[in-house]
Symmetry: C2
Subunit: 363 residues, 2 copies
């Protein structure tokens, strides 16, 4: 051992003894990060989950790891939240990967694509079916480390100014519907429009669009669509389940001590459960208020769903043929979902079917 | 200030400066706890979740908070796991509260009772519908602090040696079915038997029981019921959703630093998601194997479910009339569930219905 090296080692040893617990101090540094949400603060469900996650992390580290959340547009525009983390402009985002759909449709698939799966199967695929690993492999190229951190469940199919009775009724419809869903529905003749949440109401009011989808009853009610479009369609074929991700810039992630990494992962998982629970606790009351105020609920005719479904499947085949990461993620998700439904139809789905009938008969 | 007091304060101040970060050291003490599972190690889903939670806690604390899990019977018999935490014999348990059903049926309700709700509504009720608070109020009397930490989803209705076609066919049936479910099914003439998991197979083989329920396809397959009872019924009306809890002795909980409390809570929530995902990822393949080996799947006739349902509702009214904590918990859960289904039937349930049909038509 060279003398210089020996001195260094000895010095470290001495410090360890003197400072009592330097490993602890080093593994729990004071850190302050910014998190940009892909959504406005008015969405207390989605944005509220980012706040919850920040609180969990602070509580778990005795206030040493502080994450300050910002609403969409405060420091980064909502649609640029994924890119901002990728570039390292901010350390973190709580957002939907599909905002980067234009760069690669695989980002859309990481959040939700039409007719894919529901929340329960998606969680199972992510946590226990290889989904998180496949998505992380894809995110690596964007220098993002991500964990599932919220879910909307099945969304509503959107607000329509006039009734839809046939697939033909969809033709020529100008509808606010984004990303992958827009590309799918275009194939049955709808003219998809990309509009930010706040722009949907005035467009529906002026009649520059004929229909628009946002999230579900609780979030939609806040934007007031019930006042400008009478028909509220279900189910949301376009988002059977929509995953929010807690994204961290890869370089920033690498700087974190191992304990903080584990804390972020657990906080994201807790937030994932909480966001679904928030929607489940709030959507029914909102739906009651909407219907009480005159909103007319309508199921999409099967012919319409079938028509869109056929086009979705055709599009997935086309994209898969030229995009290997998309194909890998899609094939894995679909195989998992099919198996999931095989069992779920006799277990939970069967139980739910019985319970819904029993409750209707007694009340 | 007295001189002795001043000296004490000064000494603390000096220590603070010298030791660099004593607040950190104090808030992250080295702790080693034992956790007794209510279930055997062979249930890699349930027991595996206890192991996962222990791992999360260790990872989040850089190995300073170590939880050592033990299988049922290793240090505490499975059925006594709740009591052991209540008395402080062990610091923690990962178990089903309903093992204490005999002491108070409200323990049963905290886990699952017949015809209550599914996993998604139960999670939403627990996290965002006041459920966790109501359950904690009840657990306070047993000196237990608890968090949801796993779910089986809707279980299977059990294995039967002969087919069930009418409610009358249930009369006189000797069935292994525990706790609250036993009390319910007794009212339609079934003779409920309390047997540990490992005793069900020999009892079915010898014909000392006619039927028995355990969990679902993945767990049931391991116990080999398919070799001694040909008919496998669904859905598991007795457990539409069954919650595992991470329970901590109240006095031990109070000793924990705030950061460790937050870490336990988040680890439990992460485990809660993971256990459901494990079942969802494993049940379908097990069901395929069972059916491939000759198991005959049967839905319970509606007449049978209706008959048991009526008795369950009557029993809940009787228990509620004399047990205020039960009534409070039950009324809260039922009101939440009814609202949940109102929305779910048009959102997720409607999406799932369409998807199951579409997948069947394409494959």
């Amino acid at each position: 051992m060279k003398r210089r090296q020996f001195l260094k080692v000895a010095a470290v040893g001495a410090a360890t003894t003197a400072v009592a617990a330097p490993a602890i101090a080093q593994s729990s540094p004071q850190i302050r990060w910014r998190l940009t949400s892909g959504f406005p603060k008015s969405l207390d469900t989605i944005y509220g989950t980012a706040e919850l996650i920040a609180k969990y992390v602070s509580d778990m580290t005795d206030g040493r790891f502080v994450i300050q959340p910002f609403g969409a547009g405060e420091i980064i525009p909502g649609l640029e939240s994924v890119d901002a983390v990728s570039r390292g402009t901010v350390e973190m985002s709580h957002t939907a990967a599909f905002y980067n759909f234009g760069r690669d449709p695989t980002f859309g698939l990481a959040t939700s694509v039409p007719f894919l799966m529901g929340q329960r199967s998606q969680n199972a695929w992510l946590y226990q079916g290889g989904g998180n690993g496949i998505i992380q492999d894809f995110f690596n190229a964007a220098s993002i480390v991500a964990f599932p951190a919220g879910n909307t469940g099945t969304q509503m199919g959107g607000w329509f100014r006039r009734e839809i009775r046939t697939l033909e009724d969809m033709r020529g419809l100008r509808m606010r519907i984004g990303g992958f869903s827009g590309r799918v529905i275009q194939r049955v003749g709808v003219v998809p429009q990309q509009l930010a949440g706040g722009d949907i109401y005035p467009a529906l009011e002026r009649g520059t669009i004929d229909a628009g989808e946002w999230v579900g009853a609780y979030d939609d009610e806040k934007l007031g669509f019930q006042r400008v479009a009478p028909f509220y369609y279900y189910p949301g074929w376009q988002e059977g389940s929509s995953v929010l991700h807690l994204m961290t810039n890869q370089a920033k992630w690498n700087e974190l001590p191992a304990g903080y990494k584990a804390i972020l992962e657990a906080a994201a998982a807790y937030g994932n459960s909480q966001m679904m629970a928030m929607y489940d606790a709030r959507n029914a009351a909102a739906l009651r208020r909407l219907v009480g105020a005159g909103t007319q609920l309508r199921p999409f005719p099967t012919e319409v769903l079938d028509g869109i479904y056929r086009e979705a499947i055709a599009l997935y085949a086309e994209v898969s043929a030229q995009n290997a990461p998309f194909k890998r993620m899609y094939d894995s998700a679909v195989a998992f979902r099919n198996e999931f439904y095989l069992y779920n139809q006799i277990s939970d789905y069967s139980f739910d079917t019985y319970m819904m009938r029993a409750i209707r008969q007694r009340t």
